[in-house]
């Protein structure tokens, strides 16, 4: 029913987080990456509709799985606090 959206690679010590821009606007994902840049090395791949964010924590103490899900929560917070929900709704009207 639901795909794996957060894949932690323990060997490479990074986490892949895939997004659906129908629910998570691109600009909010970028903003979150920028805010996480203090604690993680980051990269983005994939395409405009389903970007994949790669986060590699600077510290070994950070749990990779939790990092991925925290990133999801953080993007949700940006969407809610910066009033982006109306933009998402407008796209489907």
């Amino acid at each position: 029913m639901i795909n794996m959206k957060v894949i932690a690679n323990e060997e490479e010590k990074h986490v892949l987080i895939s997004f659906d821009t129908k629910f998570y606007p691109y600009e909010c994902i970028y903003k979150a990456i920028q805010d996480f840049s203090g604690s993680c090395f980051s990269n983005i791949k994939g395409n405009q509709e389903s970007p994949i964010v790669i986060l590699k924590p600077k510290s070994d103490e950070i749990n990779l799985h939790n990092l991925g899900y925290e990133f999801y929560n953080y993007v949700l917070g940006i969407i809610k606090n910066e009033g982006k929900v109306q933009d998402i709704i407008k796209k489907f009207e």
Binding site: N3, E70, V85
Partner: protein
């Protein structure tokens, strides 16, 4: 379906992996309501939203700690959806009243601009005197 996955109403509970997927019809609850309800859980759980925004929205809720029952979180999410739905409906209903109150508040002390037809004489009070008979009052005149 696996043994550790069972469905109750709109909840798909993954007991082994300790998460729940809530299926929401966006025609019943708007995206605004869904995002608002999801936002209230970010201190207790990890939230993932996916699906189709016009047909079915799937919200995955993973408790941050293992002592939280995902089924209870799912049911709380349903309650939260209802809460926000009622809140949004009330907001829409009272919108015109709020606008009227705000308009009244803003108009209660209007700043009247001086008319451009009144010449600026330098004094605070201007009295029209077409026959030029007005004199300033002095007590010993």
């Amino acid at each position: 379906m696996e043994d550790d996955v069972f469905t109750i109403d709109n909840l798909e509970i993954h007991k082994k992996d300790n998460f729940v997927i809530i299926s929401v019809n966006p025609k019943m609850y708007s995206l605004e309501v869904i995002y608002s309800a999801a936002y209230t859980f970010i201190d207790r759980a990890y939230i993932l939203i996916e699906g189709n925004p016009s047909e079915e929205v799937l919200i995955q809720i993973r408790p941050k700690t293992s002592n939280i029952n995902p089924e209870i979180l799912g049911r709380e999410f349903n309650n939260e959806l209802l809460n926000y739905m009622v809140y949004m409906q009330r907001t829409l209903k009272s919108q015109s009243i709020r606008e009227a109150i705000m308009l009244r508040v803003l108009n209660i002390n209007p700043q009247v601009k001086p008319s451009s037809s009144v010449p600026n004489t330098g004094s605070e009070v201007y009295i029209e005197d077409p026959e030029k008979i007005a004199k300033p009052w002095r007590p010993h005149d």
